[in-house]
Symmetry: D2
Subunit: 246 residues, 4 copies
């Protein structure tokens, strides 16, 4: 975004805020957490997004830090485990054959260029531990407790290419508390697809974060779409309360 | 968005513009229009979005007018028809039984509350002509020419619930030029799902528009996500050139 | 199937029956009908399959008659309506543009050749009443009672191209009693896709029927796959009991 | 199937063969192999189906042996590799968390009961080599050549829960030569879903096999549905010729 566009955008935002537009307030249908029907779903809780050593830290680090994303995801995991809410993880991996794709969208191309989420082979864990594709170390006790369901990797942004929807349905889940990385890509695509599949979805707006680059602020975009599309949007604090309250 | 949030957002945009962040420039993979493999897909070219009499004009009218959306969509239709690029329309209809859904996301609830895209029955066209669910009058010559493929209605935002993907594949299409309403809802969900299904997608950024309400600017959000996710983003002028050039 | 193959197949069937193979008995997980979570889904209850005037009667008529399919489907509809079990209809329509597909599987090609399920346009009901695409007359009181959910048409065999899954989910349904036409094509593809989507499915084996042609007996094939794949297989009598018993 | 039913079925088959029913001959649309657009897809080439030590050999062994399935799949692999036809493998794995599903269809229940395709964890290959979930030893040179695309596991029978469709599309494939195990379950569900997704599919009828148990002959059922639904059905010899001929 160049300076002229930025000023224009800012003036638009400010004038909208002043004019109020209160007549158009969106409904907030809410989500009532019911044990046995509700799960916590985390997208991409992996080093390449959440560790300062990850390949995207340069563009997502500020947003991750500003939101306190790393701690907030852990709060959600801890809260879900303590209250019998099942946890599902939808990871992102690329294998050597994925680098043979004949065409890619902008961010797919970028992710492949920088070797994001790369693994050697689906049937090899050589070099995996501690790599960019591995879980953030502090989440391992929650993910590797023998109860968390780790789905197959999604391959673009949404769960269309993995077994998340089936895994949720096979356990009677129809309500999802959604968080993880990154806000306008995998998290938002998961939100959209889960809604298309007839789930109720609450997105936790500060347990996610996104790239903020010249071409646009991914986090700001995601916030708008969470509010428009999800059943409700919570802070981590609100999510933890809702989880405890059931 | 309240004034404090608006000022914060504006400062963020301006500081980003000044700091440049040029090191993070996103790739732009582009899309090469090939006859026989490329189609124009328009979402929701219907009165409720595009006519001043439509039920959403109060919140989308400014964006539609600013982008010149109505004329730009017509330019795309005319250009595609003149150059042998097949046209697919993915409409949005709600029937009485859709009002019996037990839960809805925010905008779904709003659309149902205001009677958007309502039809009496899938097997009745009583009262349909000129209604909010009908095509914008000026598009009818293009849509009703006996060649345009009109898919079944999508029921949330994306083509997961209709036959668009099959119709495209059955005609050998793997590249899509995408436009229509509204930018961050149906258009963006179509973009995301087409990408998940392995299509190349070019989005036409000024042949769409979106709601701009207190809770967020749908058009600004969509622009960011188009740029991050699509194979490329065009203006109507660029799209028309690409269509002619093949 | 020529006579030699037929004799071989018959000998195989008989020898299997005699040898028993009792060690390999398949489990029968069953399906417990719960009000509010269970629906009746009928595929293609249309003249082209079920009326002696329909275009496929020559190949499906014997099977429809032998199973008492027409009456059994009505028994299910009556039973569901009387016991508060919601009814969903997944119809099959072809529009003129569907005849422009560049490739088709064997039965798709046949259906298009014989003009099966043809309609003039999705936005026209001209000539529809009483046509091969229309409901069997005796089912109309059940389908047109203002409560039955009629989905968009499926376009190949399964519900992948329509909104059936979403419509079921939006009403909290996760168990399906499945019947309709034809057994090994649309009914079986609906069974398979509903199972992939995490529904429990009971198929009603005598409220369906199929083509029986030289190339193979569609009904016999479907019976095997219903038994292997569904949660359980019922007769109409058993289904009606299960519906009443909830 | 009890003896009475078996005799009835046999009489039906024989009477059909005698009566001819030649008027109902199904079309055979065929499939033209084009390099760059055509792939070989193999489902479940794993020990639990194809090795005499596999957990299902008791019920599928006769069919595998009768069809010469093991050799025929190898012939297809060799032929594809020699002629530049890309190979995609869609495997079947179950992890400990899959055993926590709350409901299952008949064969899903059976597969879980007998520990079929079991692996310790998606991120562990401990004990994997030579297990029932591993590739048949003789296929490893083809699958592990660094070029074959191995998708994520499917979790029921079809590719709805993995990335096969995306992987094919990302390499420009729209025609599939399909083989593997087992005929009426994963192979047929892959055929059906690929057809729903707009691929052309040729099934290789003797490079597959199925369970033949008291409740029904899975292979006979699959043969009927292959013929009804696929674009064409080939023997391994015909498939190899088609692959060479391109």
């Amino acid at each position: 975004m160049n300076i002229k566009t930025a000023i224009t955008a800012s003036l638009l935002i400010l004038s909208q805020a002043i004019s109020g537009m209160t007549h158009a307030a969106l409904p907030d249908p809410g989500l009532h957490v019911e044990k046995g029907r509700t799960a916590l779903v985390i997208t991409d809780p992996q080093n390449d997004f959440l560790s300062p050593k990850g390949v995207t830290w340069g563009v997502v680090g500020k947003s991750v830090t500003a939101n306190n994303t790393v701690e907030n995801i852990e709060t959600l995991l801890k809260s879900a485990k303590a209250n019998g809410i099942p946890v599902f993880i939808s990871p992102h991996y690329y294998f050597p054959h994925d680098h043979g794709w004949q065409f890619e969208g902008a961010l797919e191309k970028l992710m492949h260029n920088i070797g994001m989420f790369d693994r050697k082979d689906a049937l090899s864990v050589e070099g995996f531990e501690g790599s960019g594709a591995d879980w953030l170390e502090r989440y391992k006790p929650y993910i590797e407790d023998g109860k968390t369901v780790v789905t197959s990797p999604h391959k673009v942004y949404g769960p269309e290419t993995n077994d998340l929807v089936l895994q949720l349905r096979k356990r009677g889940i129809d309500k999802v508390i959604l968080a993880g990385m990154s806000a306008n890509l995998c998290t938002e695509s998961h939100m959209r697809e889960l809604i298309e599949q007839g789930f109720e979805v609450a997105v936790v707006e500060d347990a996610t974060a996104a790239a903020q680059v010249e071409e646009g602020d991914g986090y700001a975009a995601a916030l708008v779409n969470f509010r428009y599309i999800a059943n409700t949007v919570w802070t981590t604090k609100e999510a933890a309360q809702a989880i405890r309250g059931n």
